[in-house]
Symmetry: C2
Subunit: 336 residues, 2 copies
Amino acid sequence: MSDRITLDHGSGGKASHDLIEEIFLSSFSNKTLNALEDSALVQIGSERLAFTTDSYVVDPIFFPGGNIGDLAINGTINDLAMRGATPLYISVAMILEEGLAISDLKTIVASMQEAAMTANVQIVAGDTKVVPVGKADKIFINTTGIGTVSEGVEINGSNGRVGDKIILSGTMADHGITILCQREGLAISGDFCSDTAPLHQLVAAMIADSPGQIHVLRDPTRGGVATTLQELATSSQVGILLRETALPIRADVQGACELLGMDPLHLANEGKLLAFVAPEVAEQTIAILHRLPHGSNAAIIGEVKADHPGEVLLETVVGSHRRINMLHGQPLPRIC
Amino acid sequence: MSDRITLDHGSGGKASHDLIEEIFLSSFSNKTLNALEDSALVQIGSERLAFTTDSYVVDPIFFPGGNIGDLAINGTINDLAMRGATPLYISVAMILEEGLAISDLKTIVASMQEAAMTANVQIVAGDTKVVPVGKADKIFINTTGIGTVSEGVEINGSNGRVGDKIILSGTMADHGITILCQREGLAISGDFCSDTAPLHQLVAAMIADSPGQIHVLRDPTRGGVATTLQELATSSQVGILLRETALPIRADVQGACELLGMDPLHLANEGKLLAFVAPEVAEQTIAILHRLPHGSNAAIIGEVKADHPGEVLLETVVGSHRRINMLHGQPLPRIC
């Protein structure tokens, strides 16, 4: 590891994982943290709680489809939902740069409240710090959430089983390509829009229909679908086979990725989930997702294999296979 | 209110309160948040949980007595303790500036783990973001904590009662004066050291000895003892009388404050608590605090009065009375 923090360390890819392993886990090590799930699961009295934190530093703070505020609320709701939790309470801590327009802050706060109300969660705790101009970039927001996990719900990244079907709940790379085009002022034709959205209703419906058959849930944010699946192949010690023709992606996003030489499998999503489900419930799960907001483009994109444990293989359009890796380097700093 | 965020908004004083009222509470309004306690209290199933968040942006990140890491852990432990909670779990979210020395990060992380172990809390969830050089200042840390509150414990800022004695658990202004001297490179003679420390043991001992008689607890961080007491006078709708001669303060800190023209009542503390306790248990509470680490200089500094509700009066050394106000303006940005 280098002796200085680099942007790669924030990519969500290989360098982030190395930093977490070498610096954080080596010091903070405990069973709950080491699981490296989207939420920690803790038992308090008779209650099983999911607990998750994320700081948001996205640039720009306003973008088509949302802003840093609803992104922060939805992101924490989703991290709770990925453990099968019902989101209940969220804390909001803001770091504001001197000079931030109060009108921008009001817009962001209103979006946060709307996102919280949509998901029926309460913002119950807060903190505000201000730093001098040039010591932050407009606004950074931390959201930390608590939810409850019902008895019998066991959804985690080690729970993938050979034969599971892999579902992606909608089109990929929308958030990543939107932020990239906004930030760089790229005039690529396309109607790009962040997919920021809460996913807890999708999760609740899937679990209600097929309790015990939903094995793994994860939202592919930083590092994209490829990085998330690589993590899951490792944590479940299984092989993953994806079918390129099955991957849902908007034509304009696909085109923009080709133009920019970026792999949409590595671009961030903020309103999509990956699910590993028992094969016998895969089709009915897709049917359920199709009826819900944010699930209309859900598709089975691959399956879990015994071969090549720890690897993700993509069966390409022409029938060849190539290995998919975790994101290396940092094509897009400050994506969320 | 101005149309831009200013450093005053982060002072913990009057401008911070106005920002919270006008922007955050007007949008996020709910009973739990509106209480504006150090921790929110939420009921989940049969459990009463305290939940609190704080971001730390202190400059410099290393200072005599601690660093931003143990400050962040102790600060969140203390916010939980001020509701009478037993701290259990903490999340840690870091925003790192590109270029931060990995060795500094390791030192900070080690301090955090040590502080967590000292207080018997687990760091169970985390997040790391990296922003380009010049878009943050080395490192910002958010810590969010969960603790449990036993049945019958009702400690909050509205619970101050006429006749209560007011206890300060040790010398004031140590953290504030230390950060100020470090940051400005002031060569004032004195052996200044931050008081960053966990206060949950003091609280547990006080509650165990006098259940129901400990009415209010609050740690006077940003804005100092004066601002915190002003908040409490308002929330409890009582008058507060302080005795200047009773205020514990180190001689060198007092001297530095005089030299700099600063009121130690407005300077931050990071290992002290204010308690409003029933008069019949005040002396025994002091005796308990004196036997514990971080409580050896505890003193009764005043009492709660029916006169002048909402006001804090200081009986000076010469016997006159002057009104103490919330901090206005921002003598010390980025104190925590």
